[in-house]
């Protein structure tokens, strides 16, 4: 982090304008490169959507395959297909999924809320829990409570998320019958809006806890080591020497300095939040973007795959920008120019 600490010189307004222009230019270039790369990658896999449909229909003939390929535009040479695709992107058109008979944008827009609800809840839960547990363990390094916390987070970290999910279902749904096992809302039951919120919340508990537990373990471990590292710095000794209370030292001096690595990792993880969790969404039949992505890959639904990949890359780029901004708030030594 300290390597990034450069001081701002010269006219601040000009610097900001230049930085933003540079950032936008880089953004557009990166998106186009990603789009081209996605296209090549997606078409490198064997098989095509027509073959998949034939395989799932139990019968096929030439006419069916030709029809489907023409529909998907697969009858044109690759460079032409790529040119058409890039032209569409420039006009902000994500295309049409013939497999689902819907526009790609509407498919993504339909699934995104469910995914964001799940992943953001899990993310916030894991951040809050991870930072507090990690801090707790860090300041008590070596004591039994630290050992216990470390073991728990190590276990959670090592646990496959689908297994954790299934075990939670077995315990809380099958044995105890406290929580619904899957889905995001009870279907075919008349409910008032308030009941509906409660119902969705009940459906959220298990997937959020399963997904959050693994992320929490990562943050807790990072936080713990950062706290231990910071605790031996000179400024902490100074703070202690001038008679500050332990709580004040931890909250004001240690936490703020130690949280940077967590912000870095959380920033990277935040990108994956949008993509959703294929595993969690599958185990809990959660109608999110992760499953849509996974299905589109298996079905070789090219327009949908490319659309999702593009939207995700744009969001990841934007989130990186947000992370950089958060850096500057948490650590004023990081300058605009260095971060941009």
């Amino acid at each position: 982090m300290r390597a990034l600490a450069l001081s701002v010189t010269g006219n601040r307004g000009v610097a900001i304008a230049i930085a933003i222009a540079q950032w936008v230019a880089r953004f557009v270039a990166v998106v186009l490169v990603i789009a081209t790369f996605n296209f090549v990658l997606v078409h490198a896999a064997p098989g095509d959507p027509a073959q998949v449909m034939a395989g799932q229909s139990g019968s096929a003939d030439e006419q069916m395959l030709a029809q489907l390929r023409a529909e998907y535009g697969l009858d044109k040479p690759y460079p032409v297909q790529l040119a058409i695709y890039l032209k569409r992107i420039v006009t902000l058109d994500l295309g049409y999924s013939y497999r689902q008979q819907r526009s790609v944008l509407s498919l993504i827009a339909e699934r995104l809320p469910a995914t964001l609800l799940l992943t953001c809840s899990a993310f916030l839960l894991s951040l809050a829990a991870g930072v507090s547990l990690g801090t707790l363990a860090g300041v008590r390094a070596g004591k039994w409570s630290d050992t216990a916390l470390t073991i728990v987070s190590l276990l959670l970290y090592a646990m496959p998320v689908f297994w954790l999910g299934l075990m939670l279902v077995l315990l809380f749904s099958v044995k105890l019958d406290w929580l619904p096992a899957f889905g995001y809302v009870s279907i075919g039951v008349p409910m008032t809006p308030l009941q509906r919120i409660g119902d969705i919340a009940a459906h959220m508990v298990l997937p959020v806890v399963s997904l959050g537990a693994v992320l929490m373990a990562i943050y807790a471990r990072l936080m713990r080591s950062a706290i231990i590292d910071v605790a031996h710095q000179d400024f902490i000794k100074t703070a202690r020497a001038k008679g500050l209370k332990r709580g004040q030292i931890i909250m004001r001096h240690m936490l703020r300095n130690a949280v940077l690595p967590v912000v870095t990792v959380a920033g990277m993880q935040a990108g994956t939040l949008v993509g959703g969790s294929v595993v969690i969404e599958t185990v809990f039949a959660w109608p999110g973007l992760g499953r849509l992505t996974f299905d589109s890959v298996l079905q070789r639904d090219y327009p949908l795959m490319l659309g999702i990949f593009l939207v995700m890359s744009v969001i990841v780029i934007l989130l990186n920008f947000v992370t950089d901004t958060i850096y500057r708030i948490v650590d004023p030594r990081v300058s605009l120019r260095a971060a941009a």
Binding site: A45, V52, A54, S57, A60, D61, A128, W178, A285, P287
Partner: protein
């Protein structure tokens, strides 16, 4: 997490548990009419119009929405569907169907013979590969009056009457589709058919909600108020849903076969394997007979002897099915049981391989052969491993290659494989579902479920053709018996099993499986108790 947070979470979870909204349909108990059937659909179909898409989940769900002229009993004899009666001319060229009166589509429009003619000659001919195979033999289709349909064939085609189930010949409304681009018609989202249930809502990734069609032509039907098809992608979650009673019916591979023994013991469930007679799924080990050593009959016979198919049935398929004896399933018409029998005998297999000159090397291996593992779930994976072990015992080293659905379909259909396993439906008649895998005229690169193995025997070709156009069942039986005997001797593919899929259902459910297409049928008479 600190103590305070944990306590808060506990309170939250407890509160939610207590206020949990009741799931399922228990309130429908004891009723003969009404109630909601919750079941599973997986994978989620792309659209619900069965005339445009024939993937298995589309057909399962679409059967409630779209009906056809006939239904079939477990022995594949025709029963009235939309047609109350039918006649076949003595020369087997003219088929006359009389429709029930007062049939309406979900939008209230009457269904007439015009809709039948349009469906069969237009939309199905353009969009349904299997229907195209049958209906391309129609010279003319006429609608002399609103309730009469007359089909005249170019030449006799014996299984013509077997092609009017709702998966092969769904009837769609002409007034909605005529003159439009069928696949892009916005009405596809509404899925308007004439079946006992109509589409109310489809929440992608979650569920499809069907409700009763009030104008259904059969008095009193449907008995249920609603059917909800839930999309549950994970097989473990599907089993949990069944155990908990969240769903009351499963079909096809909703439940992994290894779960069957456990679930069969649950007191509130019954299990039946009936209702797949029309499909008669036939599983075999396919050889690419263009490549050595698979081009040698003795090698393929050796493979037949090397696999303990009874053990495969009992260990991997938990007894759900039968050992296949040849190309025609015992459930399909014109099955011949007096054919050469390949008993499990590694010694006979080794002798055949020795005779071919495939001697074992110093490591005991005679030959290494790649095998594409079909990407259709756990049972196929386990079958592949079983085959590898079986063949290893006689010195054939099967090298398993994992691949996804698109890759498998691509390599398999383009003959870029050595061996794989495949499951093929028979569709009620050897002329519809069996001949396509073996006749030389159907060796078509890039087409799945064609003659991918490359088998070519002019005598077998001739017999298949003769049987398809013969006008008497005795003649057909004669030809089919003859060709089954030849083929079992030559083993173009190693037939493994006739598979029975389990339908688990709530004990209160009645009339779920009443025909040879089982869970694909209309569900008009399904009821709770």
């Amino acid at each position: 997490m600190n103590r305070r947070e944990f306590a808060k979470l506990g309170v939250m979870a407890g509160a939610l548990g207590l206020s949990g909204i009741p799931l399922g349909i228990t309130r429908a108990a004891g009723q003969t009419k009404g109630g909601t059937l919750n079941t599973i659909i997986q994978p989620e179909p792309p659209i619900l119009v069965t005339a445009l898409n024939q993937q298995q989940p589309t057909l399962t769900l679409g059967g409630k929405i779209y009906e056809s002229l006939l239904r079939y009993d477990f022995d594949l004899k025709p029963l009235p569907g939309l047609a109350q009666s039918w006649e076949v001319s003595p020369d087997k060229l003219t088929y006359t169907f009389k429709l029930f009166p007062n049939i309406t589509f979900h939008d209230g429009t009457p269904l007439t013979s015009e809709d039948v003619v349009f469906s069969v000659t237009k939309i199905l001919m353009e969009n349904h590969a299997r229907a195209r195979n049958t209906f391309s033999r129609v010279a003319k289709a006429e609608a002399p009056d609103p309730l009469t349909v007359v089909f005249t064939l170019k030449t006799p085609f014996a299984p013509f009457l077997t092609a009017f189930d709702c998966t092969t010949a769904p009837i769609v409304p002409k007034h909605i589709y005529e003159g439009t681009d069928y696949r892009k018609n916005p009405a596809n989202a509404k899925a308007i058919g004439s079946g006992p249930f109509k589409l109310k809502e489809w929440v992608r990734g979650s569920h499809v909600h069907l409700v009763r069609h009030e104008g259904y032509y059969r008095p009193g039907e449907p008995y249920l108020d609603e059917i909800i098809y839930r999309v549950i992608p994970d097989s473990a979650s599907r089993s949990v849903a069944l155990e908990q009673g969240t769903v009351q019916l499963t079909q096809w591979t909703d439940v992994e076969l290894f779960e069957v023994p456990r679930l069969s013991k649950l007191p509130n469930l019954t299990m039946t394997t009936k209702g797949y007679e029309f499909f008669a799924p036939h599983t075999w080990l396919e050889f690419n007979t263009r490549i050595a050593p698979m081009n040698d009959k003795r090698f393929r016979q050796a493979v037949m002897h090397a696999i303990d198919r009874k053990a495969l049935l009992n260990r991997i398929y938990f007894g759900l099915g039968k050992v296949a004896t040849g190309p025609v399933s015992s459930k399909t018409k014109f099955y011949e049981k007096n054919v050469k029998n390949y008993d499990f005998s590694p010694d006979k297999a080794k002798a055949l391989l020795d005779e071919m000159g495939l001697k074992p090397g110093p490591d005991g291996k005679r030959v290494s052969i790649p095998f594409l593992v079909p990407p259709y779930g756990e049972t196929h994976q386990r079958t592949s491993e079983f085959l590898r072990q079986s063949l290893a015992r006689v010195g054939i080293d099967l090298q398993l290659q994992g691949i996804d659905v698109a890759g498998w379909a691509d390599k398999f259909s383009n003959w870029d494989f050595s061996t794989t396993t495949t499951t093929v439906y028979q569709f009620g008649d050897p002329a519809l579902g069996v001949s396509r895998s073996y006749v030389s005229s159907n060796i078509r690169k890039g087409i799945l479920f064609s003659n991918t193995c490359g088998y070519n025997n002019p005598e077998v070709d001739r017999l298949f053709e003769e049987a398809a156009v013969a006008t008497s069942d005795d003649k057909r039986q004669e030809a089919y018996s003859a060709l089954q005997k030849i083929m079992v001797e030559e083993v173009p593919v190693a037939w493994l099993l006739e598979i029975d899929y389990p339908n688990f259902m709530d004990k209160r459910l009645k009339n779920v499986v009443t025909t040879a297409i089982g869970v694909h049928d209309t569900f008009g008479t399904v009821s709770f108790g």
